[in-house]
Protein backbone atom coordinates (compact mmCIF):
# COMPACT_ATOMS: atom_id res chain seq x y z
CA UNK A 1 0.00 0.00 0.00
CA UNK A 2 1.28 3.42 -0.88
CA UNK A 3 1.63 5.65 2.14
CA UNK A 4 0.49 9.17 1.27
CA UNK A 5 2.58 12.25 1.85
CA UNK A 6 0.02 13.61 4.28
CA UNK A 7 0.61 10.70 6.67
CA UNK A 8 4.32 11.42 6.81
CA UNK A 9 3.71 15.08 7.45
CA UNK A 10 1.23 14.33 10.21
CA UNK A 11 3.74 12.02 11.85
CA UNK A 12 6.41 14.68 11.60
CA UNK A 13 4.03 17.29 13.02
CA UNK A 14 3.29 15.02 15.99
CA UNK A 15 6.99 14.44 16.60
CA UNK A 16 7.70 18.14 16.31
CA UNK A 17 5.02 19.07 18.79
CA UNK A 18 6.08 16.37 21.23
CA UNK A 19 9.60 17.75 20.98
CA UNK A 20 8.50 21.35 21.43
CA UNK A 21 6.38 20.45 24.46
CA UNK A 22 9.27 18.49 25.88
CA UNK A 23 11.50 21.53 25.64
CA UNK A 24 8.89 23.73 27.28
CA UNK A 25 7.82 21.32 30.04
CA UNK A 26 10.89 19.30 30.96
CA UNK A 27 13.31 20.56 33.57
CA UNK A 28 16.15 18.11 33.12
CA UNK A 29 18.72 19.47 30.69
CA UNK A 30 19.40 16.08 29.07
CA UNK A 31 15.70 15.54 28.41
CA UNK A 32 15.45 19.04 26.97
CA UNK A 33 18.28 18.15 24.57
CA UNK A 34 16.54 14.98 23.55
CA UNK A 35 13.39 16.97 22.87
CA UNK A 36 15.33 19.42 20.70
CA UNK A 37 16.72 16.47 18.75
CA UNK A 38 13.17 15.22 18.32
CA UNK A 39 12.20 18.58 16.81
CA UNK A 40 15.13 18.49 14.41
CA UNK A 41 14.39 14.94 13.39
CA UNK A 42 10.73 15.78 12.87
CA UNK A 43 11.91 18.42 10.40
CA UNK A 44 14.21 15.81 8.83
CA UNK A 45 11.33 13.42 8.35
CA UNK A 46 9.27 16.15 6.74
CA UNK A 47 12.16 17.08 4.45
CA UNK A 48 12.72 13.51 3.30
CA UNK A 49 9.00 12.96 2.76
CA UNK A 50 8.75 16.15 0.71
CA UNK A 51 11.84 15.25 -1.28
CA UNK A 52 10.20 11.96 -2.21
CA UNK A 53 6.97 13.76 -3.00
CA UNK A 54 8.70 16.15 -5.40
CA UNK A 55 10.98 13.45 -6.76
CA UNK A 56 14.22 15.34 -6.21
CA UNK A 57 17.22 15.24 -3.94
CA UNK A 58 17.35 18.74 -2.43
CA UNK A 59 15.53 17.56 0.65
CA UNK A 60 17.95 14.68 1.19
CA UNK A 61 20.84 17.08 0.86
CA UNK A 62 19.25 19.33 3.45
CA UNK A 63 18.86 16.39 5.82
CA UNK A 64 22.56 15.54 5.53
CA UNK A 65 23.44 19.01 6.70
CA UNK A 66 20.86 18.98 9.46
CA UNK A 67 22.26 15.69 10.78
CA UNK A 68 25.79 17.05 10.99
CA UNK A 69 24.68 20.32 12.49
CA UNK A 70 22.62 18.44 15.06
CA UNK A 71 25.66 16.34 15.98
CA UNK A 72 27.75 19.46 16.47
CA UNK A 73 24.97 20.96 18.55
CA UNK A 74 24.78 17.87 20.74
CA UNK A 75 28.54 17.83 21.24
CA UNK A 76 28.50 21.43 22.41
CA UNK A 77 25.39 20.93 24.49
CA UNK A 78 26.73 17.87 26.30
CA UNK A 79 30.01 19.65 26.97
CA UNK A 80 28.01 22.52 28.46
CA UNK A 81 26.06 20.08 30.65
CA UNK A 82 29.31 18.58 31.95
CA UNK A 83 30.62 22.08 32.69
CA UNK A 84 27.42 23.03 34.50
CA UNK A 85 27.33 19.78 36.45
CA UNK A 86 30.89 20.22 37.66
CA UNK A 87 30.13 23.54 39.32
CA UNK A 88 26.51 23.07 40.34
CA UNK A 89 26.14 19.30 40.83
CA UNK A 90 22.76 19.56 39.13
CA UNK A 91 21.43 19.62 35.60
CA UNK A 92 18.00 20.93 36.44
CA UNK A 93 17.51 24.02 34.33
CA UNK A 94 15.53 25.68 37.11
CA UNK A 95 18.75 25.77 39.11
CA UNK A 96 20.22 28.18 36.60
CA UNK A 97 19.50 31.36 38.48
CA UNK A 98 22.89 32.91 39.03
CA UNK A 99 22.05 35.60 36.50
CA UNK A 100 18.92 37.57 37.26
CA UNK A 101 17.77 41.12 37.46
Amino acid sequence: MEVSIASYIMLSAVLFILGAMGVLLRRNAILVFMSVELMLNAANLALVAFARHWGQTDGHLFVFFVITVAAAEVAVGLALIVAIFRTKKSINIDDLHELQG
Partner: protein
Protein backbone atom coordinates in the same frame (compact mmCIF):
# COMPACT_ATOMS: atom_id res chain seq x y z
CA UNK B 1 26.54 19.99 -11.69
CA UNK B 2 26.30 21.77 -15.01
CA UNK B 3 28.94 20.95 -17.54
CA UNK B 4 30.25 24.47 -17.91
CA UNK B 5 31.00 24.99 -14.27
CA UNK B 6 33.86 27.43 -14.16
CA UNK B 7 35.58 27.46 -10.81
CA UNK B 8 37.28 30.81 -11.35
CA UNK B 9 34.10 32.78 -12.00
CA UNK B 10 32.60 31.39 -8.83
CA UNK B 11 35.64 31.97 -6.67
CA UNK B 12 35.33 35.73 -5.92
CA UNK B 13 31.97 35.23 -4.21
CA UNK B 14 33.51 33.17 -1.45
CA UNK B 15 37.04 34.57 -1.16
CA UNK B 16 36.47 36.01 2.33
CA UNK B 17 35.05 32.68 3.52
CA UNK B 18 37.93 30.68 2.05
CA UNK B 19 40.48 33.02 3.60
CA UNK B 20 38.68 32.81 6.94
CA UNK B 21 39.02 29.03 6.77
CA UNK B 22 42.73 29.38 6.02
CA UNK B 23 43.12 31.81 8.90
CA UNK B 24 41.30 29.41 11.22
CA UNK B 25 43.72 26.62 10.28
CA UNK B 26 46.70 28.93 10.78
CA UNK B 27 45.47 30.03 14.20
CA UNK B 28 44.82 26.43 15.20
CA UNK B 29 48.33 25.36 14.22
CA UNK B 30 49.83 28.40 15.95
CA UNK B 31 47.98 27.47 19.09
CA UNK B 32 49.24 23.88 18.93
CA UNK B 33 52.83 24.44 17.88
CA UNK B 34 53.47 28.09 18.65
CA UNK B 35 54.70 27.68 22.20
CA UNK B 36 53.60 29.58 25.26
CA UNK B 37 55.23 32.92 24.55
CA UNK B 38 53.48 33.12 21.19
CA UNK B 39 49.98 32.67 22.57
CA UNK B 40 49.46 36.35 23.10
CA UNK B 41 50.50 37.04 19.54
CA UNK B 42 47.65 34.87 18.29
CA UNK B 43 45.32 37.74 19.19
CA UNK B 44 47.23 40.07 16.90
CA UNK B 45 47.62 37.49 14.14
CA UNK B 46 43.83 36.97 14.17
CA UNK B 47 43.05 40.68 14.40
CA UNK B 48 45.38 41.63 11.56
CA UNK B 49 44.36 38.61 9.48
CA UNK B 50 40.67 39.48 9.90
CA UNK B 51 41.32 43.13 9.09
CA UNK B 52 43.07 42.05 5.89
CA UNK B 53 40.21 39.70 4.99
CA UNK B 54 37.71 42.53 5.60
CA UNK B 55 39.28 44.34 2.67
CA UNK B 56 38.90 41.44 0.22
CA UNK B 57 35.17 41.97 -0.47
CA UNK B 58 36.09 45.49 -1.56
CA UNK B 59 38.76 44.24 -3.97
CA UNK B 60 36.74 41.38 -5.44
CA UNK B 61 33.41 43.17 -5.45
CA UNK B 62 30.09 41.98 -6.83
CA UNK B 63 29.94 41.67 -10.59
CA UNK B 64 27.21 41.34 -13.22
CA UNK B 65 26.65 37.75 -12.31
CA UNK B 66 25.22 37.57 -8.82
CA UNK B 67 24.17 34.00 -8.25
CA UNK B 68 26.96 31.58 -7.54
CA UNK B 69 27.59 28.02 -6.50
CA UNK B 70 24.41 26.60 -7.93
CA UNK B 71 22.22 29.25 -6.33
CA UNK B 72 23.66 28.81 -2.84
CA UNK B 73 25.19 32.27 -2.70
CA UNK B 74 23.98 35.59 -4.01
CA UNK B 75 26.88 37.99 -3.89
CA UNK B 76 25.45 41.46 -4.32
CA UNK B 77 26.33 44.88 -2.96
CA UNK B 78 24.39 44.48 0.25
CA UNK B 79 26.22 41.21 0.93
CA UNK B 80 29.49 43.02 0.32
CA UNK B 81 28.62 45.76 2.82
CA UNK B 82 27.58 43.32 5.51
CA UNK B 83 30.63 41.10 4.98
CA UNK B 84 32.98 44.05 5.47
CA UNK B 85 31.03 45.14 8.55
CA UNK B 86 31.00 41.69 10.14
CA UNK B 87 34.65 40.89 9.56
CA UNK B 88 35.81 44.29 10.84
CA UNK B 89 33.69 43.68 13.93
CA UNK B 90 35.40 40.33 14.45
CA UNK B 91 38.81 41.90 13.97
CA UNK B 92 38.18 44.52 16.64
CA UNK B 93 36.76 41.82 18.93
CA UNK B 94 40.05 39.88 18.69
CA UNK B 95 42.04 43.02 19.44
CA UNK B 96 39.81 43.67 22.43
CA UNK B 97 40.12 40.10 23.69
CA UNK B 98 43.92 40.41 23.86
CA UNK B 99 43.43 42.34 27.11
CA UNK B 100 40.92 40.02 28.72
CA UNK B 101 42.77 38.14 31.44
CA UNK B 102 40.38 35.17 31.25
CA UNK B 103 40.23 34.43 27.55
CA UNK B 104 42.93 36.54 25.93
CA UNK B 105 45.75 34.01 26.17
CA UNK B 106 43.73 31.07 24.84
CA UNK B 107 44.28 30.30 21.17
CA UNK B 108 40.98 28.46 20.84
CA UNK B 109 39.13 31.63 21.62
CA UNK B 110 40.31 33.31 18.42
CA UNK B 111 39.79 30.13 16.44
CA UNK B 112 36.16 29.98 17.51
CA UNK B 113 35.63 33.68 16.81
CA UNK B 114 36.96 33.16 13.28
CA UNK B 115 34.68 30.17 12.69
CA UNK B 116 31.67 32.14 13.94
CA UNK B 117 32.65 34.96 11.58
CA UNK B 118 32.77 32.44 8.74
CA UNK B 119 29.15 31.56 9.48
CA UNK B 120 28.12 35.20 9.78
CA UNK B 121 29.80 36.03 6.50
CA UNK B 122 28.05 33.13 4.77
CA UNK B 123 24.57 34.14 5.86
CA UNK B 124 25.12 37.71 4.71
CA UNK B 125 25.06 36.31 1.17
CA UNK B 126 23.01 33.13 1.61
CA UNK B 127 20.40 32.60 -1.10
CA UNK B 128 19.30 29.07 -0.31
CA UNK B 129 17.50 27.61 2.68
CA UNK B 130 20.26 25.02 3.11
CA UNK B 131 22.91 27.70 3.15
CA UNK B 132 20.85 29.83 5.52
CA UNK B 133 20.54 26.98 7.99
CA UNK B 134 24.17 25.87 7.79
CA UNK B 135 25.44 29.45 8.00
CA UNK B 136 23.19 30.32 10.92
CA UNK B 137 24.33 27.26 12.86
CA UNK B 138 27.98 27.88 11.97
CA UNK B 139 27.47 31.24 13.59
CA UNK B 140 25.41 30.08 16.58
CA UNK B 141 27.19 26.95 17.78
CA UNK B 142 30.59 28.67 18.24
CA UNK B 143 28.81 31.45 20.10
CA UNK B 144 27.39 28.95 22.61
CA UNK B 145 30.94 27.79 23.28
CA UNK B 146 32.23 31.34 23.53
CA UNK B 147 29.55 32.38 26.01
CA UNK B 148 30.56 29.50 28.30
CA UNK B 149 34.26 30.03 27.69
CA UNK B 150 35.23 30.67 31.32
CA UNK B 151 34.58 27.10 32.36
CA UNK B 152 35.17 27.59 36.08
CA UNK B 153 32.90 30.58 36.33
CA UNK B 154 29.35 29.57 37.16
CA UNK B 155 27.87 32.64 35.53
CA UNK B 156 29.68 32.04 32.28
CA UNK B 157 28.66 28.39 31.90
CA UNK B 158 25.14 29.28 32.92
CA UNK B 159 24.92 31.95 30.26
CA UNK B 160 26.26 29.49 27.68
CA UNK B 161 23.66 26.95 28.71
CA UNK B 162 20.78 29.41 28.49
CA UNK B 163 21.98 30.70 25.14
CA UNK B 164 22.21 27.13 23.92
CA UNK B 165 18.76 26.09 25.11
CA UNK B 166 17.02 29.09 23.59
CA UNK B 167 19.10 28.87 20.43
CA UNK B 168 18.58 25.18 19.83
CA UNK B 169 14.84 25.48 20.36
CA UNK B 170 14.40 28.44 18.05
CA UNK B 171 16.58 26.95 15.33
CA UNK B 172 14.51 23.78 15.56
CA UNK B 173 11.32 25.77 15.01
CA UNK B 174 12.93 27.68 12.16
CA UNK B 175 14.11 24.47 10.52
CA UNK B 176 10.58 23.12 10.60
CA UNK B 177 9.48 26.32 8.90
CA UNK B 178 12.11 25.70 6.23
CA UNK B 179 10.91 22.16 5.72
CA UNK B 180 7.36 23.45 5.23
CA UNK B 181 8.52 26.03 2.68
CA UNK B 182 10.38 23.29 0.84
CA UNK B 183 7.36 21.05 1.06
CA UNK B 184 4.96 23.57 -0.47
CA UNK B 185 7.15 24.29 -3.46
CA UNK B 186 9.89 21.71 -3.91
CA UNK B 187 12.36 24.60 -4.02
CA UNK B 188 15.09 25.53 -1.57
CA UNK B 189 16.31 28.65 -3.31
CA UNK B 190 14.81 31.67 -1.58
CA UNK B 191 14.56 33.62 -4.83
CA UNK B 192 12.51 31.02 -6.68
CA UNK B 193 10.39 29.96 -3.69
CA UNK B 194 7.89 32.79 -3.92
CA UNK B 195 7.15 32.13 -7.60
CA UNK B 196 6.12 28.60 -6.79
CA UNK B 197 3.77 29.55 -3.96
CA UNK B 198 0.58 30.42 -5.88
CA UNK B 199 0.47 27.03 -7.60
CA UNK B 200 1.25 25.22 -4.38
CA UNK B 201 -1.10 26.69 -1.81
CA UNK B 202 -3.90 27.88 -4.12
CA UNK B 203 -6.01 30.48 -2.32
CA UNK B 204 -5.21 29.63 1.24
CA UNK B 205 -2.50 31.78 2.81
CA UNK B 206 -2.62 30.02 6.20
CA UNK B 207 0.17 27.49 5.60
CA UNK B 208 2.47 30.27 4.42
CA UNK B 209 1.63 32.38 7.45
CA UNK B 210 2.53 29.43 9.66
CA UNK B 211 5.89 29.05 7.91
CA UNK B 212 6.49 32.81 8.16
CA UNK B 213 5.89 32.75 11.92
CA UNK B 214 8.27 29.83 12.33
CA UNK B 215 10.97 31.68 10.42
CA UNK B 216 10.45 34.76 12.56
CA UNK B 217 11.05 32.68 15.70
CA UNK B 218 14.51 31.69 14.47
CA UNK B 219 15.51 35.13 13.22
CA UNK B 220 13.88 36.88 16.18
CA UNK B 221 16.03 34.87 18.54
CA UNK B 222 19.22 35.88 16.75
CA UNK B 223 18.40 39.59 16.74
CA UNK B 224 16.97 39.44 20.29
CA UNK B 225 13.50 40.55 19.29
CA UNK B 226 10.78 40.48 21.94
CA UNK B 227 9.34 37.87 22.80
CA UNK B 228 12.50 35.88 22.04
CA UNK B 229 14.83 38.15 23.98
CA UNK B 230 14.94 36.36 27.34
CA UNK B 231 18.45 35.04 26.79
CA UNK B 232 19.92 38.45 25.99
CA UNK B 233 20.50 40.00 29.43
CA UNK B 234 21.78 36.78 30.97
CA UNK B 235 24.14 35.98 28.13
CA UNK B 236 25.41 39.56 27.92
CA UNK B 237 26.12 39.60 31.64
CA UNK B 238 27.57 36.12 32.02
CA UNK B 239 29.64 35.80 28.87
CA UNK B 240 33.20 37.15 28.73
CA UNK B 241 33.01 40.82 27.66
CA UNK B 242 34.63 40.40 24.20
CA UNK B 243 32.08 37.68 23.45
CA UNK B 244 29.27 39.97 24.54
CA UNK B 245 30.59 42.60 22.18
CA UNK B 246 30.77 40.09 19.35
CA UNK B 247 27.25 38.76 19.95
CA UNK B 248 25.83 42.26 20.03
CA UNK B 249 27.59 43.31 16.85
CA UNK B 250 28.61 40.74 14.26
CA UNK B 251 25.99 38.15 15.08
CA UNK B 252 23.25 40.75 15.12
CA UNK B 253 24.33 42.45 11.90
CA UNK B 254 24.50 39.14 10.03
CA UNK B 255 21.10 38.09 11.32
CA UNK B 256 19.51 41.35 10.26
CA UNK B 257 21.07 41.01 6.81
CA UNK B 258 19.49 37.58 6.58
CA UNK B 259 16.13 38.77 7.93
CA UNK B 260 15.92 41.56 5.35
CA UNK B 261 16.95 39.29 2.49
CA UNK B 262 14.63 36.41 3.36
CA UNK B 263 11.59 38.58 4.06
CA UNK B 264 11.98 40.50 0.81
CA UNK B 265 12.73 37.44 -1.30
CA UNK B 266 10.36 34.83 0.09
CA UNK B 267 7.40 37.10 0.80
CA UNK B 268 7.67 39.87 -1.82
CA UNK B 269 5.08 42.56 -2.38
CA UNK B 270 3.81 40.79 -5.49
CA UNK B 271 2.84 37.71 -3.54
CA UNK B 272 -0.92 37.81 -3.13
CA UNK B 273 -2.65 34.65 -2.06
CA UNK B 274 -6.43 34.63 -1.79
CA UNK B 275 -6.85 38.42 -1.29
CA UNK B 276 -4.07 38.36 1.30
CA UNK B 277 -0.92 40.31 0.51
CA UNK B 278 1.69 38.54 2.54
CA UNK B 279 4.02 41.48 2.58
CA UNK B 280 1.40 43.68 4.25
CA UNK B 281 0.96 40.93 6.76
CA UNK B 282 4.59 40.67 7.80
CA UNK B 283 5.05 44.43 7.70
CA UNK B 284 2.23 44.83 10.22
CA UNK B 285 3.62 42.04 12.33
CA UNK B 286 7.15 43.47 12.30
CA UNK B 287 5.81 46.94 13.15
CA UNK B 288 4.07 45.61 16.24
CA UNK B 289 7.14 43.60 17.21
CA UNK B 290 9.31 46.69 16.70
CA UNK B 291 7.15 48.74 19.06
CA UNK B 292 7.08 46.01 21.71
CA UNK B 293 10.79 45.31 21.39
CA UNK B 294 11.99 48.87 21.78
CA UNK B 295 9.55 49.69 24.55
CA UNK B 296 10.33 46.63 26.64
CA UNK B 297 14.07 47.06 26.06
CA UNK B 298 14.04 50.68 27.14
CA UNK B 299 11.72 50.27 30.12
CA UNK B 300 13.68 47.37 31.55
CA UNK B 301 16.97 49.18 30.94
CA UNK B 302 15.87 51.98 33.26
CA UNK B 303 16.36 49.97 36.45
CA UNK B 304 19.63 48.21 35.67
CA UNK B 305 22.65 48.62 37.90
CA UNK B 306 25.06 46.37 36.02
CA UNK B 307 26.60 48.06 33.00
CA UNK B 308 26.63 44.90 30.86
CA UNK B 309 22.97 44.22 31.65
CA UNK B 310 22.17 47.84 30.84
CA UNK B 311 23.86 47.45 27.46
CA UNK B 312 21.95 44.19 26.95
CA UNK B 313 18.57 45.87 27.36
CA UNK B 314 19.85 48.78 25.31
CA UNK B 315 20.73 46.35 22.54
CA UNK B 316 17.22 44.89 22.67
CA UNK B 317 15.88 48.42 22.27
CA UNK B 318 18.29 49.09 19.40
CA UNK B 319 17.05 45.91 17.70
CA UNK B 320 13.58 47.45 17.99
CA UNK B 321 14.74 50.60 16.16
CA UNK B 322 16.25 48.48 13.38
CA UNK B 323 12.96 46.60 13.10
CA UNK B 324 11.31 49.98 12.41
CA UNK B 325 13.53 50.17 9.35
CA UNK B 326 12.65 46.59 8.41
CA UNK B 327 8.95 47.41 8.65
CA UNK B 328 9.50 50.47 6.48
CA UNK B 329 10.52 48.15 3.65
CA UNK B 330 6.85 48.05 2.69
CA UNK B 331 7.46 51.20 0.68
CA UNK B 332 9.84 49.22 -1.57
CA UNK B 333 12.25 52.13 -1.34
CA UNK B 334 15.97 51.58 -1.13
CA UNK B 335 15.96 54.18 1.64
CA UNK B 336 14.62 51.77 4.27
CA UNK B 337 17.06 48.94 3.52
CA UNK B 338 19.90 51.44 3.38
CA UNK B 339 18.90 52.89 6.75
CA UNK B 340 18.99 49.40 8.27
CA UNK B 341 22.44 48.72 6.82
CA UNK B 342 23.77 52.12 7.91
CA UNK B 343 22.40 51.69 11.41
CA UNK B 344 24.06 48.32 11.82
CA UNK B 345 27.34 49.70 10.47
CA UNK B 346 27.42 52.53 12.97
CA UNK B 347 26.14 50.23 15.73
CA UNK B 348 29.09 47.89 15.11
CA UNK B 349 31.62 50.58 15.97
CA UNK B 350 29.53 52.12 18.73
CA UNK B 351 28.93 48.95 20.68
CA UNK B 352 32.49 47.67 20.25
CA UNK B 353 33.72 50.97 21.70
CA UNK B 354 31.29 50.76 24.61
CA UNK B 355 32.21 47.17 25.44
CA UNK B 356 35.93 47.85 25.12
CA UNK B 357 35.49 50.52 27.78
CA UNK B 358 33.50 48.15 29.98
CA UNK B 359 36.15 45.47 29.54
CA UNK B 360 39.02 47.69 30.71
CA UNK B 361 36.94 49.03 33.56
CA UNK B 362 35.97 45.61 34.87
CA UNK B 363 39.47 44.18 34.32
CA UNK B 364 40.97 46.86 36.55
CA UNK B 365 38.33 47.12 39.25
CA UNK B 366 36.68 43.71 39.07
CA UNK B 367 33.29 45.39 39.12
CA UNK B 368 30.57 45.83 36.54
CA UNK B 369 28.42 48.14 38.63
CA UNK B 370 27.48 51.46 37.13
CA UNK B 371 27.94 53.28 40.41
CA UNK B 372 31.53 52.05 40.63
CA UNK B 373 32.26 53.92 37.43
CA UNK B 374 32.09 57.14 39.42
CA UNK B 375 34.99 59.46 38.78
CA UNK B 376 36.12 57.60 35.70
CA UNK B 377 36.93 60.92 34.05
CA UNK B 378 39.58 61.54 36.70
CA UNK B 379 40.93 58.00 36.71
CA UNK B 380 41.43 57.93 32.98
CA UNK B 381 40.06 60.83 30.93
CA UNK B 382 40.62 59.08 27.59
CA UNK B 383 38.68 56.00 28.62
CA UNK B 384 35.86 58.20 29.89
CA UNK B 385 35.90 60.16 26.64
CA UNK B 386 35.75 57.00 24.52
CA UNK B 387 32.88 55.62 26.60
CA UNK B 388 31.08 58.95 26.36
CA UNK B 389 31.31 59.00 22.58
CA UNK B 390 29.97 55.45 22.38
CA UNK B 391 27.11 56.17 24.78
CA UNK B 392 26.20 59.42 23.02
CA UNK B 393 26.03 57.42 19.82
CA UNK B 394 23.78 54.81 21.44
CA UNK B 395 21.57 57.63 22.70
CA UNK B 396 21.51 59.21 19.25
CA UNK B 397 23.02 62.58 20.05
CA UNK B 398 25.09 64.39 17.43
CA UNK B 399 27.93 64.53 16.52
CA UNK B 400 28.01 60.78 17.23
CA UNK B 401 26.91 58.41 14.47
CA UNK B 402 23.85 57.21 16.34
CA UNK B 403 22.08 60.43 15.47
CA UNK B 404 22.20 59.81 11.73
CA UNK B 405 21.47 56.13 12.30
CA UNK B 406 18.20 56.93 14.04
CA UNK B 407 17.47 59.84 11.73
CA UNK B 408 17.62 57.62 8.62
CA UNK B 409 15.57 54.85 10.26
CA UNK B 410 12.80 57.14 11.43
CA UNK B 411 12.75 59.05 8.15
CA UNK B 412 12.37 55.74 6.36
CA UNK B 413 9.34 55.01 8.52
CA UNK B 414 7.83 58.43 7.75
CA UNK B 415 8.52 57.97 4.03
CA UNK B 416 6.66 54.68 4.20
CA UNK B 417 3.63 56.44 5.71
CA UNK B 418 4.20 54.87 9.09
CA UNK B 419 4.12 58.10 11.04
CA UNK B 420 2.74 56.56 14.21
CA UNK B 421 5.57 54.03 14.27
CA UNK B 422 8.10 56.82 13.84
CA UNK B 423 6.55 58.84 16.68
CA UNK B 424 6.64 55.87 19.05
CA UNK B 425 10.26 55.25 18.09
CA UNK B 426 11.19 58.87 18.80
CA UNK B 427 9.42 58.75 22.17
CA UNK B 428 11.40 55.62 22.97
CA UNK B 429 14.64 57.29 22.03
CA UNK B 430 13.79 60.09 24.47
CA UNK B 431 13.11 57.64 27.31
CA UNK B 432 16.42 55.96 26.51
CA UNK B 433 18.28 59.27 26.92
CA UNK B 434 17.64 59.02 30.64
CA UNK B 435 19.63 55.88 31.33
CA UNK B 436 22.38 56.68 28.86
CA UNK B 437 22.96 60.13 30.30
CA UNK B 438 23.02 58.74 33.83
CA UNK B 439 26.06 56.65 32.90
CA UNK B 440 27.80 59.74 31.56
CA UNK B 441 26.85 61.70 34.65
CA UNK B 442 28.27 58.97 36.90
CA UNK B 443 31.54 58.97 34.99
CA UNK B 444 32.05 62.71 35.13
CA UNK B 445 30.30 63.92 38.27
CA UNK B 446 29.98 61.14 40.85
CA UNK B 447 32.61 59.67 43.11
CA UNK B 448 33.12 56.03 44.01
CA UNK B 449 35.16 53.81 46.29
CA UNK B 450 37.67 53.25 43.50
CA UNK B 451 38.14 56.95 42.92
CA UNK B 452 41.84 57.10 43.65
CA UNK B 453 42.66 54.02 41.58
CA UNK B 454 43.90 55.04 38.16
CA UNK B 455 43.17 52.89 35.12
CA UNK B 456 45.90 52.16 32.60
CA UNK B 457 45.12 51.55 28.95
CA UNK B 458 47.17 48.98 27.08
CA UNK B 459 48.19 49.67 23.52
CA UNK B 460 45.61 47.35 21.99
CA UNK B 461 42.75 48.88 23.97
CA UNK B 462 43.92 52.29 23.02
CA UNK B 463 43.68 51.17 19.41
CA UNK B 464 40.21 49.71 19.87
CA UNK B 465 38.79 52.71 21.66
CA UNK B 466 40.58 55.17 19.38
CA UNK B 467 39.49 53.46 16.17
CA UNK B 468 35.88 52.99 17.20
CA UNK B 469 35.58 56.55 18.51
CA UNK B 470 37.00 57.99 15.30
CA UNK B 471 34.72 55.78 13.21
CA UNK B 472 31.69 56.81 15.27
CA UNK B 473 32.52 60.50 14.95
CA UNK B 474 33.27 60.15 11.25
CA UNK B 475 29.99 58.35 10.56
CA UNK B 476 28.22 61.03 12.60
CA UNK B 477 29.59 63.90 10.49
CA UNK B 478 31.25 63.80 7.05
CA UNK B 479 31.06 60.03 6.69
CA UNK B 480 27.31 59.72 7.08
CA UNK B 481 26.22 60.65 3.55
CA UNK B 482 28.85 58.68 1.57
CA UNK B 483 28.28 55.54 3.59
CA UNK B 484 24.53 55.92 3.37
CA UNK B 485 24.80 56.31 -0.40
CA UNK B 486 26.89 53.15 -0.55
CA UNK B 487 24.24 51.33 1.48
CA UNK B 488 21.52 52.75 -0.79
CA UNK B 489 23.26 51.31 -3.85
CA UNK B 490 23.36 47.97 -2.08
CA UNK B 491 19.68 48.30 -1.27
CA UNK B 492 18.85 48.87 -4.92
CA UNK B 493 20.70 45.69 -5.78
CA UNK B 494 18.66 43.82 -3.19
CA UNK B 495 15.31 45.22 -4.30
CA UNK B 496 15.91 44.80 -8.03
CA UNK B 497 15.39 41.08 -8.18
Amino acid sequence: MEASFDFWTHLPAVIPELLLTVLAVVVLLLDLYGGKENRRNIAFVSAIGLAAIAVTPLIWGPSEQQVFWGGMVRYDLIAQIFKVMIIIGASITCLMAADDSEVGHKGEFYLIVIVATLGASLIAAAADLIMVFVGLETLSIPLYILAAFRRDDERSSESGMKYFLFGAFSSGVMLYGFSLLYGFTGETNIYTLSQAFPAAVADNPLPLIGALLMLLVGFGFKVSMVPFHFWTPDVYEGAPTPVTAYVSVASKAASFALLVRVLLAVFPVTLVIGQENLQTLWVNLVSVLAIVTMTIGNVLALRQTNIKRLLAYSSIAQAGYVLVGVAAMQSQSDYSVASVAFYLLMYTFTNLGAFAGVLIFSETTGSENIKDMGGLSRRNPWLALGMTIAILSLAGIPPAAGFFGKFYLFTAAVNANMVLLAIIAVLNAIVALYYYLIVIKVMYVDRSQYDSQSIALSRSTLWVIGLTSIAVLLLGTFGAQPFFDWAAQGAQALLAL
